[in-house]
Structures are given as C-alpha cells and as structure tokens.
Symmetry: C2
Subunit: 393 residues, 2 copies
Amino acid sequence: MTLHALTPAEEINLRIARLQNAIRTCGMDAVLISDNANIYYTSGRVFSGYVYIPATGTATYFIRRPEGITDDKVQYIRKPEQIAGLLSEAGVGLPAVMGYELSSLDVISYRRLVNAFPGVTPVDASPIIKSVRSVKTDFELEQLRQSGIRHQHVYDLIPRLYREGMTDIELQIEIERASRLEGCLGIFRIAGDSMEFFMSNILAGDNADSPTPYDFAMGGAGLDPSLPVGADGTVITPGMSVMVDSNGNFTGYMTDMTRVFSCGKLDDKAMEAHQCSIEICRALEKAGKPGTPAAELYELAVSIVERHGLERYFMGHKQKAGFIGHGVGIEINELPVIAPRSRDILAEHNVIALEPKFVIPHVGAVGVENTYIVTSGGLERITDAPEQIIDLI
Amino acid sequence: MTLHALTPAEEINLRIARLQNAIRTCGMDAVLISDNANIYYTSGRVFSGYVYIPATGTATYFIRRPEGITDDKVQYIRKPEQIAGLLSEAGVGLPAVMGYELSSLDVISYRRLVNAFPGVTPVDASPIIKSVRSVKTDFELEQLRQSGIRHQHVYDLIPRLYREGMTDIELQIEIERASRLEGCLGIFRIAGDSMEFFMSNILAGDNADSPTPYDFAMGGAGLDPSLPVGADGTVITPGMSVMVDSNGNFTGYMTDMTRVFSCGKLDDKAMEAHQCSIEICRALEKAGKPGTPAAELYELAVSIVERHGLERYFMGHKQKAGFIGHGVGIEINELPVIAPRSRDILAEHNVIALEPKFVIPHVGAVGVENTYIVTSGGLERITDAPEQIIDLI
C-alpha cells in the first residue's frame, strides 16, 4: 500500500507546507497529530498512529496499523514512547515547543504523549490546524464539488421514494439506501464528542419543534432517548412539511444540503418562510466574500427575517439554534462559524454551509441549506438540487 | 419531558448507588460526568450538560440542552462555571476530590472544568465508571436481550436479500435497510476517538485479508481511504465466504453478532475453521463463569485452534487482532477485554461478545460471533441466529 492512497503527493506537500507556515507563525517547533480527521488531512488516509510535522523539513508518519504501508516517510511503531528515540536516531532534535490537538485529545492520551517527550513544552495546536483546514486547496474543492454532484443525484430521487402513509423514518431509510447506492460513505465526521447523528435527519410536521440536546440547527425527538435527534416515527400526513438534511459524504469531504418536500399544500406562513430562506441565501451569496465578517452574514440574514416578521420561527421555534451556518469539509463543524458573536472572517476558499431554516407550528420545518465555496465574486453554490418545495403527492 | 425517559427512576437510582459505592471505595467525594454514554447511563437519556454524583446523597443533572426537562434533580445552566455556585446555593459543599472522565474528556474541556472548581483535586474516574458499567443490571440485560431478538430477525432475512452478481457493498446496503426497518438505531457507540465504523461490516472473499487501522477483530479495505474498513466493492463469486457483522443497536444497548454466508460450496479448510469457531464458542460458554480470568478464555480458545492446526488463520491472516472478545452494552468496546494479557476477571452479569474468527486465503472470513451474559451456570447466549454457514445460491 502507498502512503497517500488517492491523494497526490504534491497535494499532501502543499497541506504540510501550509501547516508548517502556521506552526512557525505561532512559535511552535513541531506538531504531533493523532486525530483521525487530521491524519486523513495530512496523509490522504486514516491510519492508527501519529504524524510528526516539524516547523521546517519533512513530516514523519509513525504508524501502528495497518501493516504494509511502504514509504520513506513511514516508520512503524508499537507505542508513542518510541517516537522521541526514532527522531533522535534520524538526527532530528526534539522540539522545544510541541503542539498537540488539545480540542480532541483525551486527557489520558495527552499525558502519555507529554511524558513521552520529556523536556518538551506542550501547547495547543488545535486552533491553527482548524484554521489551516478551513481554507480548502483546489484538490479539496474538487472533492467537495464531486460530493455535491452525487448529493444532488440522491435528492433528485426522493419524490420517487415516497409512498402514501409512510412514516418519517420509513422515508429516511429509503433515502439512506439511495444515498448509499450512490456511493455515500455513511460516516458523518463531527469534531468533538458531544454531537452524534446517524446518517441523515428527516423531520416531518411538529417533530421539527422537539428540542434536541445536540448543537444542530434543527431538532427532532428521535426514535430513542439514547439518540434524541431526528425522525421519531411521525406518519407523514397532508399539510406537513418533510425536511430532508441528508449525509453528503461521498469522497471523504462532505457537502451539506437540505431540501423540503411537502405532503400536499402547505399553509401560507410556511411557504412565505421557505421563500424567505431562499431570499436569505441569494443575499448572502452576494455578500459573502473574502474579508466579510461571519457575524455580518448572520446579521444580514436576521434583517431579512425581521423584514418578513418571521423572527419567532427562525432557527427553531420552541428552542433556537444560535448560528445559521458553519464550515464543512472532512468534518461537519469546521470553521468559520456563521453566528452573531463569531469573530471569524471569511477567507477565499473557505467552504461553508448556510442553513437559514424556520419551524412553523403545525406544519414543520422549512428552508434550504446549501454548501458554498467563498470566492472573490461571492459564494459559489455546489449543492444544486431545486430549492422550491416539492410536493410528494 | 421527564428526566428519565424510558428508564424507570428505580433503575437510575440503582445505577447511581452502584457508582457511589465505587466512588467511595476509591476515595473520591464526587464525579462529574459529561460523556454522552455515561450521561445516558446515569439519566436514561442523552442531554448536553453534566451529571454531578456526590459520594453520598442525590445526583444533580446540570442541563444545557434540550430545554423543557422537568424534574427536581434538574438545574438548567448555560456553562459549567455555574455549577460550583449552584451547588453552594443548594447547601452542598464542594468536594475535596472530584473524578472526571479522563479517558474521554478532551484536554481543553478538562482544563475548563478544573478551573471551574478551584481548590478541588481532580482525579480519573473513567476506570471505575467503566467497571461499574461492565456489570449490567436486570433492566440492562433485558434491553440487551431485546436487541438480540431483533438482531436475529435481521439475520434471518439475509438470504432473501442476496441477488446473483451483487457486490459486498450492495448486499450490505440491503442489510442496513432491513436492519433499520427492524428498528436498528444505526448509531454504533465506540468509546474513544480512534475507532470509526459505519453501521456494519460485510467482508467477501480476500477483502477480509486487507489490514485496517482500526482495532476491530476483522479488517477490509473499505470504499475510501477516509474510512478504510469493511466492504470494498468485491463482487461476490462462487467459493467466497461472506461474513456479516451487523449493528445490533435496537434499544440503546447493542448486541454483537457475526454470521457467515457462502456463495456456493467453500473449501474444506474454511469449513473446518468455521466448525472450530463454533467449537470454541461451545467450550467458552461452559468455561466462562464469574471468577474466570478473561485471559484464560483466550488461552482456551487458542488451545482449540492449535489442536486444529489453524493458528496462522486465527483472528486474521496478514494482520492479526490481539483479542477474541470484548464487553458490550451502550458502547461496543466495554469491559471486560478477552485478550492474552487482560487482567479482567469475569463477573456475574458482564455482557461479552466472543468472536473467534479466521481468515482463509482465497475464501475469506469464517467463524461466528455471539453476545453472552455471564451467569453462574456459564455464558448465556442472547444472539440466536443459526450458526452454520448458509449458502446464498
């Protein structure tokens, strides 16, 4: 097996060079990566082990499993305590200051690593790694565009998957199957341990108003208190909206897209709110450029909502989400965060999902979500399924 | 919404009492829980927040989200820094020694909690929580038995899902759908960040010999280097085994079961290895009693493998797994661990999965996996699908 799998070596070199630039800027001498998402980013594959990236020079991949990866930059290890010795043998001095992924590394693993590098000062590298990853390379943008195309194919099939009398979860299961047949990898990577999810979120009717513990834009009671989010077995009946927010991970890089279907005609308030969501997307597509503060996009969205008098339904009704968008890529909750107190500033080739959504009592959730590339001309949409509500009956 | 959802209050009280006993034994004055699996264990639902369990007295549930849970033991908070003040207001003194989940808590969150409790000595509570959770209550055993019954229903359907010319992933998608329609929650909770998985693992032919980074019993190249495990698109052809290890989470508590199907007749070596796996299960079912060292079960399995001369195929061929079984419950990798150097001793009402498996070159993976309750009379099997290889054609 080759180290970089489907990702060209030049692409990996580019990512490492960007990380090294950030490492130097922050006064670190090296970072040690062990989080699966960051291992994938810096190698092109997931393995069990560590990526050692010095501020200058070549990265070394210390791999525990799988066996059989052949590359000059790979060293096989059984345990992290071997790394310092192997670096010394290679004539590489230990760093004075080493960055670790403190936002994802558990305390026990962290202490073990710190003990394995005596005399080395540990600092937090999570923020700079997140920052570097938030600006996508051309190769990553292409992975995201490919996911967007296949993601759209799945949404095109949804009207044909509906049968009268279905529950939300029955429809969800058919969407999951169609998505997997289209090549969806299923896994939905989320940074941090607190958010959990299975594949997709289908909300029919008032279940959209059930609050969830998780920090997603929309809620849903879920099927079981062990996973209280999403579909809850609601039978889809006339007058209900059916919001579909389905997994877009077809390449290791995921797009995020939401569309709304209806069971017959929806009431006027719901239709107006849906149009308002589309209007917000159009406005933000123009306003979102490199240099735009993320908080400004949020405020612009709120101003449009206020003009329509729809505040009480915006981003939830009984319980509200505190953001309207977020970065996406290898993980679903990357930078920047589009929220009122966000200090993030849009940069060229950020990739963001915008999801101005509403919950209308007795109807359900409406609004669209799209994934965008930030370009100098505004936001480039890469999730192109039709945005109008499609009637299932 | 009520706090304990589907779990009776007495059941929660029993779990808290067991935890408190362990907390006192270890010299802690309290533990603060924030991991979703442990929140579910101690409350009966997942929420965003913390469970404060003093060594004696009543637990308090500090909840951020969802809104609307009404219970005397619930206090709503916005941030963990409020907890110490709220405890003081309630007349509860701060603990001198507080346990945290250091195996799952990230370093940043941990530091924030430690700062929120000035003067309190932090210690690791992960081992005692894992230990308490490894001994299931009667209520938990019933949840697991229910998952086992529904899990078996899914396996009964598998021969009807196969069509000639299918790939492993196409068959997997149909099994996923059948499983979801049976009520499978999909999510597969794994303690720790390093293992990832989507729903089920179907291995056809030599793909079973592809090494994976993850610490699962079997491998598989997977569909993409971002998730290198399981089905890889192999077309199922005559002479191949098809091993199905599918998600058994129907209740928040999951059973683990593997069965093997074949495309026509398999060679004699594969058939012998499969029988050897069943023989190991029968032997371990008798030997596994409260007080039996887990390592002894492992050694017994190896001795049977050696009698058959099948060592080189046992628990993988190119790359081998270092265990034959593991505890299951809310998470798939609970205690005890059935491995050569395990110090775990079986206790009554541990629930363990045993998976003595083989990889036979040019055929694929064979062997069964069952989930068992440890009882004074031996291991009680709760995954009852037929164990013989079923021919798909």
